[in-house]
């Protein structure tokens, strides 16, 4: 059923129905920066709530409670940070953010506790280090993600770093892309392991070669949140030099159609792609471009998504990269400084850059881990020992490496349940329960979210969890936390949206339910059977039975 209105509404109707469109029309999000000194002079208490919304355009969101502390999201295009960049973020965390820091699932770094009065200094400090928060939140092209080992990995088809940087600069510079219907997520990579989740982005450019020439297949219309959808292949081949022109045409088709601005519940590209279908969407893009696109097809998905953990030889002779698990995605300010120091020190050894040596880089991954790149191979063991001393042992185990949780309590205003704290409890329990045998869990992906927004992608984890509350309450009348468990989802060859098979599992037993599901899989799996397949092979009733949570608990 066609759901967009037949007749395109005029701006007046859009602004009448949509508060945020009205707010942007009165004063664009980006305009708030010029007023920051006046806002600071007036004091937090006096600042209109509307301007607090506009601060999202600079990556700022209220922490909870909304009493004047902010979360700040620093964009890291492609996840690439220099030691100086990481040190800058670490210093800000230490000086203004109570030392807190976290890596996100879109290669950003988030800090908390920032006060409005400090923002001019913080933003200027970031800018001086070549970093920005502009467009990190709000109705913008968000951080453009990519493969964190672009330009390093021996298996990559070609190096997308330059294009990714150009695209990030282009959409930052052109202000019309700061008034999109809502947030917009782009990923660009030529990673054969498809580590960047092209299936769930608004636009994904997937590197492919044609007669040896680099170019891209294009997927559009993916996304999660409350209406999860896997992206469609547009069926095209875009030569690399035309990539930005095509990205721009797609964004123009999208932002110029006012029908999707009436309701923010449908203001994501996935709704348009779903309404039109990929063929008609492609026609619109071609009409906007004024020329047809070449036919092509997206590369086949790999067996499973790569995450580039561990130590690997680089394309560059004698160098290696090392992917370190960051448990729960938490890296505090002091750790940032120590990693930056280590990276800078290694960079200067043996004559450093003057001797033509590559600077050590820090790369952030989609699974909230970090990679040190351009390490002299012989020095890797020593560097790994030092990283372990900072709190990031290479051999932390697959569970810790692959488990992700959203920001959640105590900072996020949306969450209804513990996220990182709960994930720690679950992982610690599984490690204790399986002991030496924890390796049998293999590449188990736990994705835990505190609300339906799905920052930690619960729809596509091996076991996804979404926080909710129980119907019963605690002794003092307090709310009790529970989790819906999403099974059968995944990416890569098994790309699928999971379903909430177990509902309202009480927070105090959710780790036990997960243990039982894992045990049943290990005991009952067919040769090499992934956990996703095991869940597909069993009915909801069987899985509920396996999890051992009484039915009356799940439905109360």
């Amino acid at each position: 059923m066609p759901r967009a209105p037949e007749i395109e509404p005029d701006w007046e109707l859009v602004r009448k129905r949509n508060f945020v469109e009205r707010l942007k029309h009165e004063k664009g999000g980006l305009a708030v920066l010029d007023e920051l000194p006046a806002m600071i002079a007036a004091g937090y208490e006096a600042v209109p709530e509307e301007d607090m919304v506009r601060l999202q355009w600079y990556g700022l969101y209220h922490d909870k409670p909304k009493l004047g502390h902010f979360m700040m999201r620093v964009k890291v295009p492609g996840g690439r940070l220099t030691p100086h960049g990481l040190r800058t973020i670490g210093e800000i965390a230490q000086r203004f953010g109570r030392g807190h820091g976290e890596l996100t699932t879109r290669q950003n770094v988030q800090l908390h506790w920032l006060e409005m009065a400090r923002l001019p200094e913080v933003l200027a400090t970031l800018a001086a280090a070549g970093l920005t928060t502009t467009g990190a939140c709000g109705d913008n092209v968000r951080n453009i993600t990519g493969c964190p080992v672009a330009g390093l990995d021996r298996d990559e088809l070609f190096d997308c770093r330059e294009l990714l940087r150009e695209a990030a600069d282009f959409f930052l510079r052109h202000r019309e892309y700061s008034d999109l219907p809502r947030k917009h997520k782009i990923t660009i990579a030529a990673c054969t392991g498809q580590c960047n989740a092209p299936e769930m982005h608004c636009i994904a450019l997937l590197g492919t070669l044609r007669s040896g020439q680099p170019g891209f297949a294009v997927k559009v219309g993916g996304g999660l949140s409350t209406w999860p959808r896997l992206a469609d292949d547009l069926g095209v081949f875009v030569p690399a030099p035309e990539a930005i022109e095509v990205l721009r045409a797609i964004l123009d088709v999208w932002r110029e159609d006012r029908r999707y601005r009436l309701s923010r519940a449908r203001a994501r590209l996935k709704f348009m792609v779903d309404d039109l279908g990929p063929r008609r969407f492609r026609e619109r893009v071609e009409a906007r471009l004024g020329r047809p696109l070449l036919d092509g097809a997206a590369p086949a998905a790999p067996d499973s998504e790569a995450d580039h953990a561990g130590v690997h030889a680089q394309q560059q002779e004698g160098l290696a990269y090392a992917g370190f698990p960051v448990y729960l995605g938490l890296v505090n300010g002091e750790q940032m400084l120590r990693i930056a120091d280590l990276a800078a020190e290694v960079s200067t050894r043996e004559g450093g850059r003057q001797a033509g040596r590559e600077e050590v880089e820090i790369r952030l991954t989609r699974r909230q881990n970090l990679i040190l790149a351009n390490l002299p191979q012989g020095q890797v063991p020593e560097i790994a020992r030092r990283m372990a001393a900072i709190g990031f042992p290479l051999a932390a185990g697959s569970l810790r490496r692959l488990a992700i949780a959203c920001t959640g309590n105590p900072f996020c205003n949306f969450t209804v349940a513990e996220t990182k704290g709960r994930l720690r409890q679950i992982v610690d329990h599984l490690e204790a329960a399986f002991g030496e045998q924890a390796a049998v869990l293999g590449e188990l992906r736990l994705n835990l979210d505190g609300c339906p927004h799905a920052c930690a992608h619960h729809w596509i984890g091996d076991i996804g969890l979404q926080g909710t509350t129980l119907r019963e309450r605690g002794a003092a009348g307090e709310r009790l936390q529970g989790y819906d468990l999403f099974l059968r989802g995944g990416l890569a060859r098994g790309a699928a949206i999971g379903r909430p098979v177990l509902r309202r599992v009480p927070g105090d037993v959710v780790h036990l339910a997960i243990e039982r599901l894992c045990r049943a899989w290990i005991d009952g799996r067919q040769a090499g059977e992934p956990i996703q397949q095991f869940f597909i092979r069993h009915s909801d009733e069987q899985l509920i039975d396996i999890a051992g949570v009484p039915a009356e608990v799940l439905t109360r």
């Binding site: 999860p228 449908r266 205003n413």
Partner: protein, 276 residues
């Protein structure tokens, strides 16, 4: 005229297996119904949940419009409200008016007597003037907890939330899961209506109007905590105007229906969850 059995019947919850949407289903439905009229949304929701659904109202324009629409679909639709004990007399007047006009038994939920006794004994009846925390405690005992109690017995509730009211409401969907209240369905049929459309509906259908609107009130709650706002004055000045250092959006923009009030309340009264 009033007998004990009658009171018991009013309090009884129609027993039935709980019919709860899951997140995937809710997302699909919200998209399907996004352009649907309030009546279409109500008709669907009322058919699905019947007596396990109720409209929550404080007798403002939105709640009254919704009740009128729902009553026309099925006069047996349930309507509930919370009598905080501090409501203006005008609210009680409109309760009577609605009872008479629609022949409806409005379900009234009240604060737990023991908690109210303890709170007012310890902190006095006007504790809300003392601090933001004290006001949140008062909101919690008098309003939040009684509403939670009402929701416990439902599978779906209907609210008058509208997207054009504030940025944080701009994303609301007409059919959602209320994860703040045990995961029941939350239906927001007026999501895409403007205030003007609500008032047009109420005029066209001769729906009872809360008398305080005529006296300049833009939002109506407890008597001591609400006041009229002048022309051009920020409507937010009509709630808790004396407070300094109240959380942003805690005035009229983060009501209980969005979960916002409870998040602030938990963060400020209970320290915001587990430290990590």
């Amino acid at each position: 005229m009033i007998h004990e059995p009658m009171l018991q019947a009013a309090a009884a919850v129609p027993g039935a297996r709980r019919d709860l949407l899951d997140e995937f289903e809710a997302g699909q439905l919200a998209n399907d119904f996004d352009a649907a009229s309030p009546e279409e949304v109500l008709e669907w929701a009322m058919a699905r949940w019947q007596q396990r659904l109720a409209i929550c109202t404080s007798f403002q324009a939105e709640g009254m419009a919704l009740f009128d629409m729902a009553w026309r679909i099925d006069p047996a639709v349930r309507l509930f409200t919370v009598d905080t004990g501090r409501l203006p007399q005008e609210t009680y007047e409109i309760v009577e008016q609605v009872r008479e006009r629609y022949g409806a038994a409005i379900e009234v939920h009240v604060p737990e007597a023991r908690k109210l006794e303890r709170m007012t004994t310890h902190f006095g009846p006007n504790l809300f003037r003392r601090s933001v925390e004290a006001r949140l405690l008062c909101c919690s005992v008098r309003k939040v907890e009684p509403i939670r109690g009402a929701l416990d017995a439902l599978d779906a509730w209907v609210t008058g939330l509208r997207r054009d009211q504030w940025a944080s409401r701009a994303n609301i969907r007409k059919i959602e899961i209320d994860h703040d209240h045990g995961g029941l369905a939350k239906i927001n049929p007026l999501a895409d209506w403007t205030a003007e459309e609500v008032w047009d509906y109420n005029r066209a259908h001769d729906v009872p109007v809360h008398p305080l609107y005529a006296r300049g009130y833009t939002s109506i709650g407890c008597m001591p905590c609400t006041r009229p706002t002048g022309d051009g004055e920020d409507p937010r000045a009509g709630r808790w105007w004396w407070e300094k250092n109240a959380p942003k959006e805690c005035g009229i923009h983060c009501p209980l229906e969005t979960g916002g009030l409870e998040h602030e309340l938990e963060a400020m009264l209970h320290g915001g969850g587990v430290e990590r």
